[in-house]
Symmetry: C2
Subunit: 452 residues, 2 copies
């Protein structure tokens, strides 16, 4: 039993939907289809979700909404025509789109979410109808009926644990169920959307709920690349990753699937595969709890910029009981999340993301460290990047760090900091952002193209 | 103006004392001589300090102390004879040794310290006399008269800041002053000794107090070796070190000078040189605030065992504000000092010295982390060693870490953890203790004998 999720680009046109149909048809285990809103058909096109945002603005501004409604309805109409659907499906959709402009504006925390969710919701209806017309016994299921019950946090809904029991009952359905992604309903019945990557989250929740054997996430790429294609020319796609590895890669800039989307599947111990709608025979990238067998030491190289480092030194620092804890306390008091804390004997650095700092917070930190903790020197270093080489099997391969540091050194990249923890899922290097691309290239070359 | 300190082996016999005399005579800037108690003359000999401990035990047990007194007095008598001193100095010394057995035993927190300090104190008297007989205008000065005023912590005295003003007045003396090391007097006039390396501490205090241009610490080695001679065959001695580098080396097993002895000189910005009484022409190892010029990237390789690592992992750990701080708080509550805290995304290790842990504390940590902080996995790893490659100029040399990790990897040494902080005074490797010696050898070879 598989849960299969399609992204917006896989659902943008009749051509794409035909691929989707074939993918679903080709494997009887594909029983739950989670769908996004229609994406762009070409570079100039507008996503349905963006059109809904425009519609929402017109409506709340008191402007005429007819043009906005028509654009959206026509967008679905085009697909209905291209797919030669003869039913009254477009009437349902048009009605749903128009009825949004009857929702109360005042004291409605969920209005924006209701507009946004319409993109997915109506697409699911259309796709279910399309499947039915083409020999799949399919049925549209609203998240409310599926049991996707969420917290009342508009734009940032969290799944409530009770959802999973209800979702599990869907296992017994004989139909292929088509479920709109991106949103759930609150216990009061309000539409409430997930954070970014919302449809991926829905797919993950459904997969965990129905205890799927596999969660297939169809995108428009062949899987996850071992390094950013904007930096490395034609990087290969990774065959197999563990959830831990995916977390590390996602941490440092890999944005294929957001954390929020991984958690339900990870917790439910459901393997996940990233596949390409346009190339469904490609095995894609499989993400599971453990590597299936022999594996390379390094699976991927990630890099992310916009880090800063608070560097302090104090003679005899390491004799002071509680010093590190006090430093972390001040950060916590200032609501600053920190990332890493490499230390020498008399020095300590705290690596944070730039977004955690403001000029005022920086002043607070400097003054606290100098006056209260009596550090000898303190400075805040900006424009840093983190590079991570990631691989759970690293620990069985002596020399990974040697290979990495040699590659960086050969390319004249100076290491500001290094940290390799006991888990050995990754080695982290902090370097100046100006050297980031060069560093990623060097490491990719060293681990994946040693002969070039 | 120089402060010069001699250790016990430099003062063990007339032969040694003649070398000391020549050293002091050869440089008129050597104006303050801080001395230890007489050390061993050969492997079977007893140190005067150890004889004093025996004497103390006999006295406090109520045993006859005559034999103990005689042994100690004879030890000084031998030196008086060999040095052909004709004065009544031995009578003074004998009197001082005997009078220890008149000190009150009951409610006397300073009795043990008073016995111990007699080794240095009487040696200073003897040496001042010897200097006078040989053309040096020398004078014995008791720490009380010198102004070495300390806290009332027997065996662990700390210098009181007011001492420095008093010590500064000694600058104006025309004589060479001979000051016993190892102890000071409390504000109530009690003898109170420093912790281990006590005479080194005294020398450092005097150097800072009189604002010496140099603190010369004479030992029986040519300086500080770049690696442990028990591990590396004939390691070279280091020409120049900074205080920071010395701290890092001392942290990981280099025991030439204890921290306590470095602090006063460091704070007083006094350079220090470690020299060999038996080879005074050798330049020794100079320790100062900054390197004097071009220098090698790595000055030394230190290693220390008896470390443990508390390794924990928790999915999404790095999203939890305050997680690290809470971990450090529990350690602080258990009075556990920690050394380093390398982290991944979802894992964190805390490296501590084994002496900080007990089975009960380990249980407390495991149970707290599991129950209160909800970690997924936690284990405490034992039998770890820390290897440090140290050098302040490392930061100007790209590739130091690459050289080190390659050397370790070529020798099949697996890195449990790595940490290199922003100061770049050192790179730290955590490895299994069973591989420690091999690791030190590999690194010494890589940095200092690349051609072999």
């Amino acid at each position: 039993m598989k849960v299969i999720k399609f992204g917006g680009s896989s659902l943008a046109s009749a051509t794409q939907l035909k691929k989707v149909l074939n993918i679903v048809k080709s494997d009887q285990e594909r029983r739950f289809v989670v769908v996004s809103a229609p994406g762009k058909r070409n570079a100039e096109d507008t996503k349905v979700t963006d059109a809904l945002i425009k519609y929402y603005k017109s409506y709340t501004n008191g402007d005429d909404v007819t043009a906005d409604q028509d654009w959206i309805i026509n967008r679905y109409q085009d697909m209905v025509d291209e797919l030669q659907l003869t039913s009254n499906i477009i009437d349902d959709i048009a009605e749903a789109i128009k009825s949004l402009a009857q929702l109360p504006i005042k004291d409605n925390d969920f209005l924006y979410d209701s507009f946004l969710a319409a993109g997915e919701d109506n697409n699911a209806k259309l796709i279910a109808e399309y499947f039915r017309k083409n020999g799949i016994s399919a049925r549209y299921v609203h998240p409310k009926d599926a049991g996707i019950i969420v917290s009342s946090e508009p734009g940032n809904a969290r799944i409530l644990p009770s959802s999973y029991d209800k979702l599990e009952k869907l296992r017994h359905s004989d139909d292929v169920l088509v479920i709109p992604g991106f949103f759930g309903v609150t216990t009061e019945g309000q539409i409430c959307t997930f954070s970014r990557g919302g449809s991926d989250i829905s797919g993950s929740i459904v997969a965990a709920g129905v205890k799927a054997d596999l969660y297939e996430n169809f995108t428009d790429v062949n899987g996850i690349f071992a390094a950013h294609p904007g930096v490395v020319e034609n990087p290969h796609s990774i065959e197999e990753l563990t959830y831990k590895e995916m977390r590390e890669l996602a941490y440092a800039g890999f944005s294929v699937l957001h954390d929020e989307a991984l958690i339900p599947a990870y917790r439910g111990k459901i393997p996940l595969v990233i596949k390409n709608t346009n190339n469904p025979d490609h095995p894609g990238t499989r993400i599971s709890l453990e590597h299936s067998g022999a594996s390379v030491p390094v699976v991927g190289i990630a890099a992310d910029d916009n880090f800063a480092s608070i560097n302090m030194s104090k003679y005899l620092m390491n004799r002071e009981v509680g010093f590190g804890r006090k430093v972390l306390q001040i950060l916590e008091d200032l609501n600053i999340r920190w990332e890493h804390m490499p230390s020498g004997i008399d020095d300590l650095s705290i690596i944070v993301r730039e977004r955690e700092l403001t000029p005022i917070k920086e002043q607070e930190i400097l003054s606290y460290l100098t006056r209260e903790l009596g550090v000898d020197e303190v400075e805040i270093e900006h424009n840093l990047s983190i590079i991570m080489i990631v691989g759970e099997n690293m620990k069985d391969h002596i020399g990974v760090t040697a290979t990495a540091t040699k590659a960086l050194s050969d390319n004249h990249i100076n290491l500001e900091m290094i940290s390799q923890g006991s888990s050995e899922v990754s080695v982290m290097f902090v370097i100046k952002t100006e050297q980031e691309k060069e560093a990623v290239k060097s490491l990719y070359q060293a681990f994946f193209s040693p002969d070039k």
